[in-house]
């Protein structure tokens, strides 16, 4: 296991950052945050065709580039920095991962190439009204009909569920938790309602099913371990995204502290501000350690270590991003409290991603359980 990034990974970072500097500017973020659809298909296509971001970690046999999680982590840190408005987390961290983990080779061969090429926007529909991310939260009913499986019930807080071409749906059958695929273009009984979100840079939807035909992935009743593993991967990738967001927020705070003067000198020369910024960097570097440990665990493939590192990363990085984003507003003073300033975009992304895969308290409990505490 290599605990540092390679030259190639540094180059990947440069390429991705340069792309996002051009195509995910603050103006783009604001435009797409205000757009009900919330993403720009033109940018999505270029992400796929110019640098192959959607298929980066998809194995080559399924049309991807076959890179590892550390490489994918580099991309998520950069999309986090840019507050990219795109269904990237939903498609890559949740849906592609769920397909890779499920016990269904035919589905993988059929569905992953579309994700890798950028043609398919996909997501995972797991949470319901109570917002639980555990096994018990899955109640949506699936039953075997005469001509196949039918889903009836409701999923909510589904990331980018309003625009996904492919929904991977966790449901309950008499045998237990199962995973289903629903192609939204031709799904009877499917209703999707966009939810107005606090963080406008990442949209969510409510999805209802009324005898909607669905394709069972793998063996009926056995999907939970694969889903739990998918959530662990997503927890690590979200943590890296959070680190990127926190680092970008600190950058704006530091830039402002260098030029904003009070009492005839830059506020960054006062210890009250300087020490706050220093503490923010300590928080970010500690969060980096937590998130990177998760990436390295994923690449090493040690399941026990992955479970521990993923829960630790979410427990720590969620709070770190929120704290840094809130302190960024504090450093900016009054201007940081305005709609025009980007500081609130980071705060809202931070506060929303803090609960996106379960709260820090939930992840602490997962960690405690995994450590036997």
């Amino acid at each position: 296991m290599d605990l540092t990034f390679s030259e190639e990974q540094h180059e990947l970072r440069t390429v991705v950052r340069s792309f996002l500097t051009r195509h995910a500017t603050e103006a783009d973020v604001r435009r797409l945050a205000a757009d009900p659809r919330g993403h720009d298909p033109w940018i999505w296509r270029r992400m796929a065709t110019e640098i192959g971001l959607q298929g980066l970690a998809v194995p080559e046999e399924y049309g991807g580039s076959g890179f590892g999680y550390a490489d994918l982590g580099v991309v998520f840190e950069e999309t986090g920095r840019a507050l990219l408005c795109a269904p990237y987390f939903a498609t890559v961290a949740l849906a592609a991962e769920a397909l890779l983990r499920c016990d269904d080779e035919a589905a993988r061969a059929e569905l992953l190439p579309g994700i890798a090429s950028g043609e398919t926007v996909a997501t995972l529909a797991l949470t319901e009204d109570d917002g639980r991310w555990d096994e018990l939260g899955i109640r949506l009913n699936a039953r075997a009909g005469a001509s196949g499986w039918l889903l009836t019930g409701e999923k909510t807080y589904v990331p980018d569920g309003h625009l996904a071409d492919l929904l991977l749906v966790a449901a309950r059958t008499p045998a237990g938790i199962s995973l289903f695929a629903v192609t939204t273009a031709d799904a009877p009984g499917l209703t999707r309602t966009p939810l107005p979100t606090l963080d406008q840079t990442r949209k969510q939807a409510r999805v209802t099913f009324a005898d909607t035909p669905a394709r069972l992935l793998g063996t009926d009743g056995t999907a939970w371990p694969a889903l739990a593993r998918t959530l662990a991967t997503a927890a690590v990738l979200l943590a890296v995204e959070q680190v990127g967001g926190a680092a970008a927020a600190l950058d704006t705070a530091v830039a402002y502290a260098k030029i904003r003067e009070q009492y005839g000198r830059p506020i960054g020369s006062f210890q009250g501000i300087k020490h706050k910024c220093a503490d923010m960097l300590v928080e970010i570097e500690s969060a980096r350690s937590a998130a990177y440990a998760g990436l390295w665990a994923l690449d090493a493939g040690d399941e026990t270590e992955i479970a521990v590192a993923a829960a630790l990363a979410q427990a720590f990085c969620s709070e770190a991003f929120t704290k840094v984003a809130a302190d960024t507003i504090q450093v900016h003073g009054g201007i940081g409290f305005t709609w025009e300033h980007p500081a609130h975009l980071y705060l809202k992304r931070a506060k929303s991603s803090e609960v996106l895969l379960g709260t820090p308290a939930y992840h602490r409990e997962l960690l405690a359980a995994r450590l036997g505490i």
Partner: protein
């Protein structure tokens, strides 16, 4: 999580592991993990352990062979520290000479000084104390007032030094002195090597809050040392001193922080035994303590991986100290809380148990080696590029 140092280092590691298996036994094994930067516990055992290490040729792994070292590289030095921490060997009593003075002499000393002083350091024949701080110069070392004047082929030194760790044991001191009486701030300083065995040197132990005498104040009254005992150029002592303080300490943080990890595990065992894990508030703090030590470890491993890849370590190498010292104190508070009423009781002659000693001594960690406030200035100014605070 483990570090793979590659095949070249594997033999070195295996040799070291075997050596620990054979030598970290008896009294040494009973004193596993004992000591720390301000902790004089079991001094005699630890000194004997340093001599055992010396006999095994394990001190100065990266120092040139001509001065008694092994002549190996940075990667072996790091592998040594890593294995040392894994073995939980007693904290080295002569760490000051090994980690600070030695590297400084190697970088800035003249040939005669290297030949004269480096071999006895590695042989644990001469013990050293650092004379940088003064009552009026702690974080602000440019305020040093101890004077040194030339008298023929000698320097005559007058002044007072303080917070000299293990000063009562020191045979020699390396002291920062003002050699140009008209100079101000960091100009006109010189770093001198000074023997303690003379009438002009009086060393008085200072009792720390844990009841130990392991640092000292040093009074210099017409103390003498040779003209050839200046390290680096006369008048350039600031540069020399800063080089000492700037010597990479990431490797020395590692053993200390792996020790914190052991404390966290002991704390979880204690909490389990006390049924404290059922208390949601305590449970949260316990999980956070575990998270903290795990993050410390990963941060160190990131730095080590960068160093062994031949890269300049990233910002985490600088932020690690502030994070670790703060979090270790929280760990200490939590351990004392879990100990409950029993934590109030000490042994005869104020003898402390491991938990009490670790908690009390952790209060020094945010002060020595650059206080947390100084660390925040360094992070703010050097890493983030914020403007300096106004200084006179």
């Amino acid at each position: 999580m483990e570090v793979d140092f590659g095949p070249a280092v594997r033999d070195f590691r295996d040799e070291l592991r075997d050596w620990f298996a054979d030598h970290l036994v008896g009294e040494f094994a009973e004193h596993r993990g004992v000591g720390g930067p301000t902790d004089g516990a079991a001094w005699d055992v630890r000194l004997a352990w340093d001599r055992e290490l010396s006999a095994g040729n394990w001190l100065g792994v990266g120092w040139p062979k001509e001065y008694g070292g092994r002549g190996l590289g940075l990667i072996e030095e790091i592998a040594f520290e890593y294995e040392y921490a894994r073995a939980n060997a007693p904290y080295r009593a002569t760490v000051n000479a090994l980690d600070l003075l030695g590297p400084m002499l190697l970088a800035m000393g003249d040939e005669a000084q290297k030949k004269r002083f480096l071999p006895p350091i590695l042989a644990v024949e001469e013990l050293w104390g650092q004379g940088f701080s003064e009552p009026g110069a702690g974080s602000d070392l440019a305020s040093v007032r101890t004077r040194a004047e030339r008298d023929g082929d000698q320097w005559v030194v007058n002044g007072q030094k303080v917070w000299t760790s293990f000063g009562v044991h020191a045979d020699w001191l390396y002291v920062l002195t003002r050699t140009d009486p008209d100079s101000r701030r960091h100009k006109g300083l010189t770093l001198l090597l000074l023997p303690t065995d003379q009438p002009g040197v009086e060393i008085r132990p200072i009792r720390n809050l844990a009841g130990q005498d392991e640092f000292a104040e040093v009074f210099l009254s017409d103390a003498r040392t040779g003209a050839d005992m200046a390290v680096g150029e006369v008048g350039q002592g600031w540069r020399t001193a800063m080089a000492t303080l700037g010597i990479e300490r990431g490797t020395t943080l590692l053993p200390q922080q792996l020790g914190f990890e052991r404390e966290a595990e002991a704390l979880i065992d204690l909490a389990r035994a006390r049924g404290a894990l059922d208390d949601p508030m305590l449970r949260r703090r316990i999980v956070d303590a575990w998270i903290s030590v795990r993050i410390m470890r990963t941060t160190n491993l990131r730095t080590i991986a960068e160093l062994t890849a031949g890269r300049t370590p990233g910002p985490q190498a600088t932020t690690a100290k502030l994070y670790a010292s703060t979090r270790h104190q929280q760990l200490g508070h939590l351990a004392m809380e879990l100990a409950g009423p029993a934590g109030q009781i000490v042994g005869e002659d104020y003898e402390l148990d491991t938990r009490q000693r670790s908690f009390l001594l952790s209060l020094a960690e945010t002060i020595y080696g650059g206080s947390s406030e100084i660390q925040r200035n360094i992070i703010g100014e050097l890493l983030l590029g914020l403007p300096r605070e106004p200084r006179p």
